[in-house]
Assembly symmetry: C2
Homo-oligomer: 362 residues x 2
């Protein structure tokens, strides 16, 4: 459990991603009904449009977006690299200096600069309950010496982030462990971040293109050095089976666009075995199988079953059939992706509940 | 009030349009909360995809789309002309014969044929509570002799529709008055349709490009011949001030894409006077002013007011500001158009409630 001024977050917790201060297609009251205790919003996107100043004047993210429970904002570190890189084209890469990152907006190509000081300032304007230190997250295929440099910068920027962090009563700052899939770097980074003694710690730099086995190594090399009495947030992981594996390894907070993005693509998680299914073994030994179902496939055209007969999300509870939801998705009708998104968020929150029960943290 | 096997429809009634068996962006439970007693679905769209047969096998529209209250389906007559004409291009016009219409699908250009017999058969497969006779609706600029021919065909097709109408216990068939803006034709058509003594009557062929003054003429020439104890449905009218004017002239059912389409374009109806506002004078004398507000305009960027301070729709009640909703709309975030659509549907349903109170039919 994590306590904030806006209520407690039951852990292990999954945080739906609300990049632009809205979890795509979902209303705040629906998210409350899902049972989400906290959502994530992206500093990078909000600083570019509408800007931190406007949101501050509106009374902060909570008031502006009508969400009363906790919010976590990331630092923008991940996006200035990933989005700045893609949109800028070959000649317009984000440029890392020792102080920060010069990058090009994915919206209009305009040039911007972000560093730890500015990231924390914007996160203060946004007013989230948990804010993240500014870090550098190299891609999964980065060379060892680059990863080592990125770790050094991340550590230096953590110090700057901590100094820039002024609203300590209302905002908890989390540090981020980097180090790619290199054992020494992970251990070094975890020790460094832990020593800063912040309210929580995160493991970044996973799920960026490396193999699943390497993700678990990176986690296993980091976790032992991080205070077990503080939240350990594994960034960017959202596949249900991965979350369970990460919880077994000591992580207890997660965020990912997966449930909402899959939903918008017409894919739902469904309980049951068969082709392409995955197995989850909870810490208590309980086992379930689940798989992805792409509802626009022809075979579901006249399927009267609900999305997942074992589910009690609004879509399944109200009896919407695969046939009807598939029709809505084929026709690009918004209700279709609303229902699949809600279903996936419920499905994952249900996994989290089972996890909490499984480890006696309900 | 109109009674159906699935409940009563308070009149005057506005029917939100659910072309593809979903009112765009709105969930059935939200529509119930709006207070809508009935929705409309389009036979033309549903016959092309997914087809009447599939919906029949799914148990009909109500069961398939999870809507328990009444549904009205149109005949497809309007769309085979308007959509068949646009999509086909110059050489692929819809072709009217004395029996029906050959048209080209707006989806893939494939050739189809629809006549009164087939329209009613499909509407039986869909299983709506109110079904419409197959008619021809000429555009507002059609020549007089063409409108006269269309009236003749509409009358002949009404006879065929009536013969094809077999599920008379569960489905009420409405006839449609045509005749453009020609007095003699309107009177002739209204007399003819009334003589068929169907459960309800509609006035079609308005709001197809003619002036507002001509619309009222067409209504005034039709209404006196239609039984006042049966519903008189004015097709395709949805501007609040127009609905009030039509009710004063004896109409009591309406449908239009306007509230949902405006919503998707970021435009909301707001109570109040000023530039571009319209005046509504209810039958009881009560007067209100209202206007359209385009929320993506720069002037609302930091506007903390809710969409309409006098409204109690979910968007306004929950305190969503013009600033935040404008942001959502600019970013193409689905929650934005969900909130504007809901707001407009509430706004219009509120007008309908005031109308019902105003004429003592609450």
């Amino acid at each position: 459990m994590v306590s904030t001024g806006r209520g407690t977050i039951k852990t292990p917790a999954f945080m739906p991603v609300g990049t632009l201060a809205t979890v795509k297609s979902v209303a705040p009251w629906e998210l409350e009904a899902v049972g989400s205790d906290i959502v994530l919003a992206n500093t990078y996107h909000l600083m570019l449009r509408p800007g931190g100043e406007l949101i501050k004047k509106a009374g902060g993210l909570h008031k502006w977006a009508r969400w009363k429970k906790p919010i976590l904002t990331d630092s923008g570190g991940y996006q200035v690299f990933s989005l700045g890189r893609i949109s800028g084209g070959a000649k317009k890469m984000a440029t890392v200096t020792e102080d920060g990152v010069e990058f090009y907006s994915h919206l209009d190509g305009s040039k911007h600069f972000l560093d730890a000081q500015k990231s924390i300032e914007i996160q203060e304007q946004l007013g989230a309950d948990i804010i993240m230190a500014f870090d550098e997250c190299p891609p999964g295929n980065a060379k060892g010496h680059y990863v080592a440099q990125a770790v050094e910068r991340t550590h230096r920027w953590l110090k700057v982030s901590k100094r820039a962090w002024t609203n300590r009563k209302e905002q908890a700052l989390f540090g981020i462990v980097q180090g790619g899939t290199i054992k020494d770097l992970r251990e070094k980074s975890a020790r460094f971040v832990e020593k800063e003694d912040l309210p929580g710690n995160a493991i970044g730099g996973v799920s960026v293109g490396e193999s699943r086995a390497r993700v678990w190594k990176a986690v296993e090399w980091s976790v032992p050095y991080l205070n077990p009495h503080k939240p350990r947030y594994l960034m960017g992981v959202g596949e249900p089976s991965d979350i369970v594996e990460a919880v077994k390894r000591g992580c207890d907070m997660f965020d990912c666009v997966l449930p909402t993005r899959l939903g918008r693509h017409g894919v739902v998680w469904v309980t049951g075995g068969g082709e392409g299914s995955k197995r989850i073994v909870f810490p208590c030994g309980k086992t379930i199988m689940y798989k992805r179902v792409a509802l626009t496939q022809h075979r579901y055209r006249a399927d009267k079953k609900v999305l997942d007969p074992q589910c009690s999300c609004p879509a399944c509870r109200e009896g919407f059939s695969r046939s009807y939801v598939g029709h809505l998705l084929r026709e690009n009708e918004i209700l279709g992706l609303r229902l699949t998104t809600l279903h996936n968020l419920y499905f994952l929150e249900n996994i989290m509940k089972t996890l909490r029960n499984s480890i006696g943290k309900s």
